[in-house]
């Protein structure tokens, strides 16, 4: 770089040619975009009035939310007896939905934090919406244990605070309490991570918006961001720190969720494989949900240049690898049950695969292990219709995984006299529908009013703005 002043020209020593760059690193953002295009393209959906398609989707989602709200109101008024639970199957739909939604959230943190630490630049196109998905999914998840309490207005009893009952403190040795801390920390840290990432983009919106309510809101929430490098430098440090904190956090959350089960002496739950098994399953289902949402968003919001086939393919590969880990876990569970010599474990897994809920078990295996194997083939990974179908199938499969783990482990008790069956009631089914309604209502609102792609991050990875090699390869450049 010292040649600069000699030549008096802004050139880099041996700059890579465009062809070399393309070989080194495939194009992330297509369409030859420059930073101004990014601002315009991403802000465009916010400037337009909502389309008929958006209103259609919103009405469906909102109707589902209303149905769910009615169901929840009814069950709180009448009591948890409106569910299909019984003394043997004490957890079923509600906790299935809880674990399902927590799991959905995990891919958002994987994309925003873990892939950030691994310097995966493709994440910039999807991280904003994946993080929004995380936030909404964790809210959906958090509702279920609160509903399950039966008296949700006493939810604050979960917090350790001095009270007039003793003080009667919470039990810090219970995984259920660990869960309270894990989920609430996860929600708050994800929210702050998402918001910090949003600040520069809010400043962009502020500066281009016409005077009005949108400009005022953007002014309030962009905190006076002006693009100063002094601030950027600190901001990058904090963003890196948040990624470094969110990474172990996301693994801890589903580990703790799995401990809700693993610390109970129930055959099928009481296994040490649960934490990694649950974390892999969570990321698997979350990636499937990201793909479902992204494939719709790129089409509806014309973001094909930002979320390219490369992004879809990369997420498919991640999903496939997670699916294989999940498949390995299913196999390991059976092997350990057979190998353990424990008759209760052996019976449980025999019953899981061939008993009354075998249909749920084989749905799970088909959806999570067998069908995703088509993603080994490149032409199929690049076929958006197939990828979309698989992403939905995996979501269904992962919901069934939690259902299988919970219900098949419980319904055949140690005492055959306690054996029972389980059928969900209409209240439980509509509550599940309602949680999807809440999820999609919130996501559609997000897609309307916030930049769905992190503009300030995408501008930094544009192909026509290549960084010269010496800055790119310098150690610690993100700090």
């Amino acid at each position: 770089m010292d040649k600069l002043s000699l030549h008096g020209k802004a050139t880099v020593a041996n700059p890579p040619t465009t062809e070399e760059m393309a070989t080194l690193r495939p194009t992330l953002i297509t369409g030859g975009k420059v930073p101004a295009d990014v601002t315009r393209d991403i802000c465009a959906p916010m400037d337009r009035s909502p389309t008929a398609l958006w209103w259609g989707a919103f009405s469906v989602a909102f109707t589902a939310l209303v149905v769910g709200t009615v169901a929840v109101t009814y069950q709180i008024a009448m009591g948890i007896g409106t569910w299909g639970l019984n003394r043997t199957v004490g957890w079923a739909f509600d906790i299935t939905n809880f674990v399902f939604w927590v799991g959905i959230g995990h891919a958002g943190t994987l994309i925003s934090a873990v892939l950030f630490l691994f310097r995966q630049k493709w994440r910039t196109s999807v991280n904003r919406s994946a993080e929004a998905m995380t936030l909404i999914a964790v809210v959906c998840a958090g509702l279920f244990p609160v509903i399950h309490m039966g008296r949700p207005w006493l939810a604050f009893w979960m917090a350790p605070y001095p009270n007039t009952r003793g003080s009667l403190w919470v039990n810090f040795k219970s995984p259920l309490l660990w869960d309270v801390f894990a989920i609430s920390t996860y929600l708050l840290v994800s929210a702050v991570f998402w918001y910090v990432g949003l600040i520069p983009d809010l400043a962009t919106i502020r500066d281009r918006a016409k005077p009005g309510w949108r400009k005022q809101l953007a002014t309030i929430f962009s905190l006076g961001w002006n693009g100063s490098t002094r601030t950027w430098s600190r901001y990058e440090t904090v963003y890196m720190l948040l990624a470094g904190l969110a990474t172990p956090l996301v693994f801890s959350v589903h580990t703790i969720v799995s401990m809700d089960f693993a610390t109970a002496v129930i055959p099928g739950w009481h296994t040490t494989i649960f934490p990694p098994y649950f974390v892999a399953g969570a990321i698997f289902s979350g990636l499937a949900m990201v793909l479902t949402l992204m494939l719709i968003a790129r089409k509806v919001m014309q973001l094909e240049d930002y979320i390219t086939l490369l992004h879809v393919e990369t997420m498919c590969k991640l999903m496939l690898s997670m699916g294989c880990i999940v498949g390995l876990a299913y196999g390991t569970e059976f092997f350990i049950a057979a190998f353990s010599g424990n008759p209760y474990e052996q019976f449980l897994f025999f019953n899981r695969a061939l008993g009354p809920f075998s249909w749920a078990y084989w749905t799970m295996v088909a959806c999570n292990v067998i069908i995703p194997q088509v993603l080994w083939f490149r032409p199929l990974r690049r076929n958006l219709a197939i990828v979309f179908v698989i992403s939905v199938v995996v979501n269904i499969g992962m919901w069934f995984e939690r259902f299988v783990i919970i219900v098949t482990s419980l319904h055949r008790d140690f005492l055959p006299s306690s054996w029972s069956d389980y059928t969900p009631t209409i209240v439980e089914l509509t509550t599940l529908v309602g949680s999807f309604g809440l999820f999609f209502t919130c996501f559609l609102i997000f897609a309307r009013f916030a930049p769905v792609i992190a503009m300030a991050e995408v501008k930094g990875v544009l192909e026509n703005a290549p960084r010269s090699l010496d800055h790119d390869s310098a150690p610690g450049d993100a700090a």
Binding site: M1, W169, F172, F193, S222, L223, N226, T237, L242, K459
Partner: protein
């Protein structure tokens, strides 16, 4: 430079590409010009070092907050479990450490994350509703602005222009700005 908080006569040089800005910054610094600040639409990697900024010390805030969270929660759990509300579970020890780890970890992450973010807001003086006056209209869109301090009478604008012209300079403007508050 952050100790300045008075009004300064500054020279604003605008660029349209991050590489131009980076090279111009290095050239200006090599010539001994005092860089007040640089405004960019996105984080340009390597710019902080080109500008001569020290690495941020916010990592220490994060570490201290995290340790406070972990140790505080460990103590709180020990106090509750072994002293204030000791529950005998099958004769297991009240002060068992492993069961306190998950919540202490969550508390560490929580405090470290919020501590670092609020420290960032404090040192960068970011707060809700703060009015931002972008120096150049498009600085949050696609333009890059290098702000040089017109320190003394020896500062020669035409000389600076000659220096920066090879880096595809888009515009040069003299302006009096209040430094310090705008960071």
């Amino acid at each position: 430079m952050s100790k300045h908080s008075t009004e300064h006569s500054c020279l604003l040089a605008t660029f349209g590409h991050e590489d131009d800005l980076l090279d111009a910054t290095k050239a200006a610094r090599r010539q001994g010009y005092s860089i007040v600040d640089i405004f960019t639409p996105y984080a340009v990697h390597g710019l902080d070092r080109a500008m001569g900024l020290r690495p941020s010390r916010l990592t220490w805030v994060c570490f201290i907050c995290g340790m406070t969270g972990a140790l505080g929660m460990l103590f709180f759990e020990y106090w509750i479990g072994a002293l204030a509300w000791a529950i005998d579970v099958g004769g297991k020890p009240w002060n068992s450490l492993p069961s306190t780890v998950p919540v202490a970890f969550e508390a560490a992450v929580f405090l470290a994350a919020f501590g670092s973010v609020f420290a960032l807001f404090a040192v960068a003086r970011l707060f809700p509703g703060k009015e931002a006056y972008p120096l150049i209209e498009r600085v949050t869109d696609d333009h890059f602005v290098l702000v040089l301090d017109e320190v003394d009478a020896r500062f020669d604008v035409s000389q600076v222009e000659r220096l920066l012209q090879p880096f595809n300079l888009l515009g040069l403007e003299e302006r009096v700005i209040a430094t310090g508050g705008s960071r």
